[in-house]
Structure formats: structure tokens, C-alpha cells
């Protein structure tokens, strides 16, 4: 049930009977009682017309957009109607709102062009239309329905997603699904241009340089990919990196599907499938103070069938492990010197190196001998 919509109703202001539900699919879904309670939000005063109104009552949510078309030809000089949807009160209905709005627009157009609603012969075409709408929205989330020669209804349910985080130049995008499943032509030119450089190891700055695309454009394109869940962000890989496990590492033991996915992902190409024990030992071997290089020398046996770079990548993507970043803080300085710009505890080594162009090693050498600076890892 893609749209979780339980009912579509068409309500109008009848010249003698007042507000009523003329059609509803399925029949009798909205009780007399429910309609009485909410009718003031369905057929509304002028101030509320053309607004998206969602009212919750008796365990149901009704989403509608009241329309008023004024003309002398109508009895009472105005036609008032509302085509709305009904869901369960617990449903998140934000994604349905644009659909209701669009439907009200369609009906308004149909009425203005050909009196679709005010004429009895065409009005009862609404019922089969509503039926089809309900069925298709629930089945696929989309509906294309020709109404007459000049009007076709196109509706699509667009799931709202969370805003993606800001993409920094030192972040590394990695595909969440196999890259081969990615259909290039569906995406914009910038995205197509940077695609070959997204390999789970190149960071944004590097992609920008190698693909010859301006840095901010790369950031926006990747942010867009993030929004759709096509990529996720991990940190730059280096053998000097330090990682540690999170409580989620246990899911490798508890969850068979994550296990399968992991072992498939981290096994070296062409080698025997890595064993769960080896892989789990490797993850558990990551801890504060241990670099990836250390891990490789201590666990060389376990690494026979495992690609350590993909091991780290998978661990980060699934939050089984997390990266410990270094943050330099200048704690002692004399009054005359300028306040620290980068050594404030807000900027990691990744960021500083990316922004200034110096390497980790160089930064380490500079800072290690500076007694005014402490390093925090977190």
C-alpha cells in the first residue's frame, strides 16, 4: 500500500442540502458522524479556500483543498467543492499534500473549461475516476488518467526525505548499491561528469580536481546523490587512520543479512570467501591507538582473504566502526600572538590538510614539537 490512502471523497455545497459528500470510494467509508464533525474544514468559509487543510478526527485524517468558483450562473452565485483523501490518523500525510493540491487544480480547470462538475452528465464520471485514482495511488504511487480530449491527470507520490548534511571537501562519497545499477542518463550533466571518480576513496577535493569540475558544483551534486540515498559519505582512507568499534558492530553477529552483505563486500577479488570470525576479529582489532597499518601487521592471517580498504569502507557505511579524528588545540599562547584560526578544536586534521594542502606527516611534524598545542582524538 504505497500511499496508505484509505478513501477518496468528493464533497460539495448543495444548494438546498448544504455541505454533503457526493461521492466517496469506497462507499460509506466516511460516516455521517465524521462528516458532521469535520465539514466546517471541508466546505469552508472564503478565508480558508485554496488552502491545504488536514483535519484529524475519530481516528482518521482528512486532507483536502476547498475550491470556490464564483459565477452568476451557479445557484448561490458560487460553486463550492473539495476533493480529498482519507488516511489513518497515525499516517504521515505530507507526501499526499501536493497530490491533493494538484487534484483541486485539475478539477478547477475542468470546471472552468467545460463545466465538468456543474453538469450532471460529466459529474458522475468522477466516480470511476476516483476509483482508479485510489487503486493506482495505492498500488504504484503514480497515476496517469485521461479525463477528456484536452485534459489528463498526472499524479506521482514523491516521498519526502530528510535534508542531507553539508558535504565537505574532505568527505568521500561511496555508492550504497552496486555502481553498475546506476543509470547515468537519468542524472544531470555535472553528476554524469563526476561519476567515474566516485570510487569510495576519492574525496570531494580530489574529484573536483580530477574531473575538472568546480568544487562547489561537486559538493552540490554529491549532496543531491546523498539526498536520494544513492551514495553515503565516509572519511578519507589512510593507513595511518585510527578507528574504533561502535555498539552496532554486534549486528554483524546478530543480523544474517548484514553478515552476508559484509562478507561479500570485503572478500578479496578471486579469493575464498572470508570467514565471519576473521572479519569480526578484524573489526574488533580496531581500537583507539591502533592504526590500520598496525592492524595489518597484527592480523595478517585474517587479512589473507580480506581487502582491508573495503573492510573499513563497509564498516563506516554501516556504522559498525567510526573514525577517530585528530583535533589540534592551541591552549597556550602569549597575549601578543594572533588567536588560532585552525587550531581551535573545531577543525580536524582531515580538514586542515585539505584546506592548506600540507600532508598529515608534515602537520604531525609541525605540531608534535609544539608544546603549546594539545591533540584531542574523538
Amino acid at each position: 500500500n504505497v500511499s496508505s490512502c484509505e478513501c477518496i471523497f468528493f464533497s460539495e455545497f448543495h444548494p438546498t442540502l448544504g455541505p454533503k459528500i457526493t461521492y466517496q470510494v469506497p462507499e460509506e467509508y466516511i460516516s455521517r458522524e465524521l462528516f458532521d464533525t469535520v465539514q466546517v474544514y471541508i466546505i469552508t468559509k472564503p478565508e480558508l479556500q485554496n488552502k491545504l487543510i488536514t483535519v484529524t478526527a475519530m481516528g482518521k485524517k482528512l486532507i483536502g483543498c476547498p475550491v470556490c468558483i464564483e459565477h452568476k450562473k451557479y445557484s448561490r452565485n458560487a460553486l463550492l467543492f473539495n476533493l480529498g483523501l482519507v488516511c489513518d490518523a497515525q499516517t504521515n500525510t505530507c507526501a499526499l499534500e501536493p497530490i491533493v493540491k494538484k487534484l483541486s487544480g485539475y478539477l478547477t480547470t475542468l470546471e472552468l473549461e467545460s463545466g465538468f462538475i456543474s453538469k450532471e452528465e460529466s459529474k458522475h464520471k468522477l466516480l470511476p475516476i476516483m476509483s482508479t485514482l485510489l487503486e493506482e495511488l495505492n498500488a504504484t504511487g503514480a497515476c496517469t488518467l485521461p479525463i477528456d480530449e484536452s485534459n489528463t491527470i498526472h499524479l506521482k507520490l514523491i516521498q519526502l526525505r530528510k535534508d542531507p548534511p553539508i558535504v565537505q571537501e574532505y568527505d568521500v562519497p561511496v555508492f550504497t548499491q552496486c555502481k553498475d545499477h546506476f543509470i547515468k542518463s537519468q542524472w544531470d550533466l555535472t553528476t554524469q561528469q563526476i561519476l567515474p571518480y566516485i570510487d569510495g576513496f576519492r574525496h570531494i577535493q580530489k574529484i573536483s580536481a580530477e574531473a575538472d569540475v568546480e568544487l562547489n558544483l561537486v559538493r552540490i551534486a554529491v549532496q543531491n546523490l546523498l539526498y536520494y540515498g544513492v551514495v553515503t559519505l565516509v572519511s578519507i582512507f589512510q593507513y595511518s587512520n585510527v578507528y574504533c568499534t561502535t555498539p552496532k558492530v554486534q549486528s554483524l553477529i546478530d543480523d544474517k543479512s548484514i553478515q552476508e552483505e559484509c562478507l561479500n563486500y570485503v572478500t578479496k577479488q578471486g579469493h575464498k570467501r572470508a570467514s565471519l570470525r576473521d572479519v569480526f576479529q578484524l573489526y574488533c582489532g580496531l581500537s583507539p591507538g591502533t592504526t590500520v597499518r598496525d592492524l595489518c601487521s597484527r592480523y595478517s592471517l585474517q587479512l589473507q582473504n580480506v581487502d582491508e580498504r573495503r573492510l573499513i569502507q563497509f564498516g563506516l557505511m554501516k556504522s559498525l566502526i567510526r573514525r577517530l579524528q585528530k583535533y589540534p588545540v592551541k591552549v597556550i599562547r602569549d597575549e601578543r600572538s594572533r588567536p588560532p584560526r585552525l587550531y581551535t578544536g573545531c577543525h580536524s586534521y582531515d580538514e586542515i590538510c585539505c584546506k592548506t594542502g600540507i600532508t598529515y606527516k608534515e602537520l604531525d611534524e609541525r605540531l608534535e614539537n609544539d608544546s603549546n598545542i594539545v591533540i584531542c582524538w574523538k
Binding site: 484529524t56 552540490i220 539526498y227 561502535t246 554486534q250 553477529i253 578544536g345 584531542c376 574523538k378
Partner: protein, 589 residues
């Protein structure tokens, strides 16, 4: 392209703040909007309007009770503009519902504004003609609704909380109305003030907000304003309706904030349900400060608990010291945690290992750094935090070479850091993973999670039951750490009933291959070690840390560690934070 809301702490605070509070009523005089806050007032109008236009809804940019933070006041102005499209009359129509919507949650969304309230019916006792009490006016109000207007993208849990507050205020108002017609009287004052302003406006043409005039005259209006202001700032609301009934409420989303994230109330509740007697309660304010905040009629149990609690005492000890039942301690502790007055930690002791929380604010210029130096003169926060870059035990941090006074000082620092969500505690978790069988590469025994095979077997059965029913004294001696190997009953390979049962237990939960591997470990030849291993088997799934095992099984750390070392070839060990209480130090994003 997308909203860049991560940087400003206040911006995400806004997601949980209401746009406005509105009081409407319905009665024989129709639907009325009695009060709303914030209100608009004309002083200056936006430059986009010509001088001729006098928009009664134009805003005073200096703000009425609006916090003025950079983008924040602009943002709030936008929200008020949203509401301005709704006139008082239309608001009263849509918010003063029909009586069949009363007594339930009211939720209405119009374009970008969400309204939530709890419409309440007023029932009036019949007025007796022979009643000697002062003349009572005939009430005309049938129902009322205290409504909060929220942003369209408010979290469902925030909406739920706002509804809760609306309901509580409604209950108090309903009570006071029944007792002394409080609401009717206040409503009269509000309507009278509105009429007065309308008349004045007609006469001398200077538009003013009627609601501003209501505030000094009307206690209820002031209460509603206070509720709104509190919700926007601290998240703690404390009202005294009619100077009599207390309504207290807290918005967990404002209280449980760490940086720009908040702990969702559901996560908080899950954590609180999972705390154990070996956890401890850490107060976030001083004992004195907390006690002074408690109402006069608060429970003496709460006072006792606050007075006896300490970062080094676990909840079980606290129950003993405060002379309260453990269940009561849990309840009061949960209450304090919910109100943001305390968090749950593992009690401070030598072996605790701490590390910097990934969300710790280590900035040189943070207000935390300043507070720290005020609290601990001569020390700076980043330097002390740097010491926790690598996991360090309390014993190591304390540095026994220092003077004892100095030691105590350092412990205080750790407590301070825990209170300010800067440190996480690492625990050791153990997982049983047997090396895969060599002969059959297709065998995937080790891939099956132990949990699946253990199945529905109760894992909290006390050790006595898992060995059938030996006599209690046997069980005591068998599990006693001081037992020596020469006991006749425990000869390796011996046929004793207990040995047999123990083997059975192993068989029941492990695969053949696993059993073989374990039995081939040299340490397994020692029946006492093997028995202890079998007894602890269900903890080796990576979900129980050492301290929990020690607590449940009444074992010493050295005992446990020795055992783990002996069987290390089939165990994998890792350190990370306890997910049950980690939300207090590093909330989920």
C-alpha cells in the same frame, strides 16, 4: 539548495518551539478568540508597504518577546507572517470546535501551520436560587480550546507533547471554572479589553493590539504568555492557574539537548526502561540547587534520594542508603532524568575506562571551556580533554603520585565532564566465535548467530536451575571461587551427574563442531573452568559487558578476566560504549 540548519544551535531549537499560543472559546455569544501571543502591533511597518497603507498586522521589528539572534528573529518574523494570514475571526471559527471534538486531541493543519489543542467542554453546576454565595453570573461559555500553533515540520513527538500541555492547562481551567468561574471571568476581561481597543481605534484611528492591553489586566493571559516564552527557551513550564493550581510540564526536546541534537523522547524512554540496579544516577545540578527547585509538597522520598545519591553509588546501594524500595528508586530516577535533572551512568570506580565522546565540544572558545576554568582554576578544558584521547581508566587518570586532595579534584573533573556530556565510558563485550571447521568449507555453523540456536531458552535463569537440581550446598561449593581441584566430584572426565549435566547444557546450545573445539581447549580439561565457561555462555553474544556479568554472577573481575583469557581462542573481545546509556553522552542523529 537544502536548508543549512546544522550550524546554529538555536535554529534546531526552533523546530521544537511553538509559533504562537491561542485561546478560543465557544458559547452563546458565538466563537471568540480570547487571546493570542505573540501578538502583532503597529509601530514601524516594513518598507515594502507605502506610508499610506496601515497594516494592522505589520510587525514591530524590535520584537515582542522574540529572541533576537541573527537569522533567528528574521526566521520568527516569517513564522508570524504565516499566522498573520489568519484573522482572529477565522481562527476562532476553526479552533473553537464542535462539542463532539471535545475531550480529545485536536490537530489541524492549514498550509504551513499546524494547530494542536485539547478542546474542553465546560459543565456548569445548576445555580441554586437559595445559594447564599456571592452573586454568580450566568455562564455563557460552552467550550474552550488552548491551542498551540506549530511549524509544519514539527516532529510527531513534539506535537504530542504540546497536546499534553494543552490538555493539562485545560484540566486546570476546567477545574477552576467549576469551582469559581475563573475562566468566564478572565474571558470577560479579555473581551472587554478587545472591545475597548476597537472603540478607541475607531475614534482616533491609531491601531493597537488589543492583546497587549489584556496582559496587565488578566492573569490567564500572563500565564499563557509565560507558557509560550518558556517553551521557546528552557522548555520547562511552571504555571499557577488562578494562583492556585499548578501546571508543570517539560518539553524533553529542549531539555535533553546535546549540542544541536536532541534526544528523542522515545529513545529516552527506552533507555530508562533498560537501566539496571548496577547503574548509577548522576545529578546534573548541585544537591542544594535541586532541592531548592522542588515544590513544597514534593515527596520526601525524592528529597531522601537526592540527599543520598552520589556518582559512586549504584541504584541498589542507593535504595539501601535511602531506605527506599528499588522500584521506587527506579521511578524517581526516571522522573529526574526525564526532567533533565540527572543522567544515568555506570558508578565511578577505579576500573572505569573513559574516552572523549564523539560529540564532545572541544572548542577553545566554547562556553563550556570558560565554565570549566571558573570551576577549576588553573586548568583548561582542552588540555584535560586531551588526556582522554586514548581510553584511560579512572585509576590512571587520577595519578596516585599526586596528593590525595589533588586526586579528589581530578575525580571532580571527571564528574563535571560526565555532567556536560563530554566523556563516554567504554565497556568490554565478549562474543563466542569458534574457528571454522577445516574439513567442510561449506559448513556455516559459525555463521548462525548463537541467539538463533539458543532459541527460546530463558537466559536469565539462575545458575542453579541450569544444572537440573543439585542440592543448594553443592551448587554453592561448585560455584565458589575458592574451591580447589582436588574435590572428588570434579575429576576431569569423571562420571559425576553434575559433569554430565554440564555437558548436556553445552550440547543444547552449541553445534557439534563448536562443542568439539571448546572441549579441545586445554583449559576445558579443568572441570571448574569448563563449568564456569558453560554457565557464562549466554553472555558471550556481545550484548553483555563485563560489569554486567560480574554483577549478575557475583564474580570478581580478576576471576572473569582469567577465564576469558583461558578461552581466548574461541572468544572475540571488543570495547565500546554501553548502548543503553550512551544516548546521554552521544545522542543518535
Amino acid at each position: 539548495m537544502y536548508s543549512q540548519s546544522q550550524n546554529s544551535v538555536y535554529k534546531s531549537g526552533d523546530k521544537t518551539s511553538p509559533i504562537s499560543v491561542i485561546l478560543v472559546s465557544s458559547g452563546s455569544r458565538g466563537n471568540k478568540l480570547l487571546f493570542r501571543y505573540p501578538f502583532q502591533r503597529v509601530a514601524e511597518y516594513p518598507s515594502s508597504l507605502t506610508a499610506k497603507q496601515r497594516n494592522p498586522y505589520a510587525l514591530n521589528t524590535a520584537g515582542d518577546g522574540l529572541e533576537d539572534q541573527d537569522g533567528d528573529s528574521r526566521y520568527k518574523l516569517c513564522l508570524i507572517f504565516l499566522l498573520k494570514r489568519f484573522s482572529d475571526i477565522i481562527l476562532s471559527t476553526i479552533l473553537a470546535t464542535k462539542s463532539d471534538m471535545c475531550g480529545k486531541k485536536f490537530e489541524l493543519k492549514i498550509d504551513n501551520v499546524r494547530f494542536v489543542g485539547h478542546p474542553t467542554l465546560l459543565q456548569h453546576p445548576p445555580v441554586s436560587k437559595t445559594d447564599p454565595s456571592p452573586k454568580r453570573e450566568m455562564p455563557t461559555m460552552i467550550l474552550f480550546n488552548v491551542v498551540f500553533a506549530l511549524r509544519t515540520n514539527a516532529d510527531p513527538s513534539v506535537i504530542s507533547c504540546m497536546h499534553n500541555l494543552s490538555r493539562r492547562i485545560a484540566i486546570a481551567l476546567q477545574h477552576e471554572e467549576r469551582r469559581c468561574q475563573y475562566l468566564t471571568r478572565e474571558a470577560k476581561l479579555m473581551l472587554a479589553a478587545q472591545d475597548e481597543i476597537t472603540t478607541m481605534t475607531e475614534m482616533d484611528g491609531s491601531p493597537q493590539s488589543p492583546f497587549r492591553q489584556i496582559l496587565p489586566k488578566c492573569k490567564l493571559a500572563r500565564d499563557l504568555k509565560e507558557a509560550y516564552d518558556s517553551l521557546c527557551t528552557t522548555g520547562v513550564v511552571r504555571l499557577h492557574i488562578n494562583n492556585w493550581l499548578e501546571v508543570s510540564f517539560c518539553l524533553p526536546h529542549k531539555i535533553h539537548r546535546i549540542g544541536s541534537n536532541y534526544i528523542p523522547p522515545e529513545a529516552l524512554e527506552r533507555s530508562l526502561k533498560a537501566i539496571r540496579p548496577y547503574h548509577a544516577l548522576l545529578l546534573l545540578e548541585s544537591e542544594k540547587a535541586l532541592l531548592s527547585q522542588l515544590p513544597l509538597d514534593c515527596s520526601p522520598a525524592m528529597v531522601r534520594l537526592i540527599k543520598t545519591s552520589s556518582a559512586m553509588k549504584n541504584l541498589q546501594q542507593l535504595a539501601q542508603d535511602a531506605d527506599l524500595a528499588l522500584l521506587q528508586i527506579f521511578q524517581i530516577a526516571a522522573h529526574l532524568v526525564y526532567w533533565g535533572k540527572a543522567i544515568i551512568i555506570y558508578p565511578l570506580c577505579e576500573n572505569n575506562v573513559y574516552m572523549l565522546s564523539p560529540h564532545a565540544n572541544i572548542s577553545l572558545y566554547s562556553p563550556l571551556a570558560e565554565h570549566f576554568t571558573q570551576h577549576f582554576p588553573g586548568y583548561d578544558l582542552p588540555s584535560m580533554l586531551a588526556k582522554f584521547s586514548l581510553p584511560v581508566s579512572l585509576a590512571e587518570f587520577r595519578n596516585p603520585l599526586e596528593a590525595p586532595a589533588q586526586e579528589a579534584y581530578l575525580i571532580q573533573m571527571v564528574v563535571w565532564m560526565l555532567q556536560h556530556h563530554l566523556l563516554i565510558q567504554l565497556h568490554t563485550y565478549v562474543c563466542l566465535l569458534v574457528p571454522p571447521s577445516e574439513e567442510e568449507p561449506g559448513l556455516r555453523d559459525e555463521d548462525l548467530p548463537l541467539a538463533a540456536r539458543v532459541g527460546g531458552r530463558s537466559l536469565s535463569t539462575p545458575s542453579a536451575l541450569s544444572f537440573g537440581s543439585p542440592t543448594s550446598s553443592d551448587d554453592m561449593t561448585l560455584t565458589s571461587p575458592s574451591m580447589d581441584n582436588s574435590s572428588a566430584e570434579l575429576l576431569p572426565g569423571g562420571d559425576s551427574p553434575l559433569n554430565k549435566r554440564m555437558t548436556e547444557t553445552l550440547l543444547a546450545s552449541l553445534s557439534e563442531h563448536e562443542r568439539q573445539v571448546i572441549l579441545n581447549i586445554p583449559a576445558a580439561q579443568n572441570p571448574e573452568d569448563l563449568r564456569m565457561f558453560a554457565r557464562l555462555l549466554h553472555y558471550f553474544r556481545g550484548h553483555h559487558h563485563l560489569e554486567e556479568i560480574m554483577y549478575n554472577e557475583n564474580m570478581r573481575r580478576s576471576q572473569l578476566k582469567t577465564l576469558l583469557d583461558k578461552f581466548r581462542s574461541v572468544l572475540v573481545v571488543t570495547n565500546h560504549e554501553d548502548p543503553i546509556i550512551s544516548i546521554f553522552q552521544s545522542p543518535m542523529e
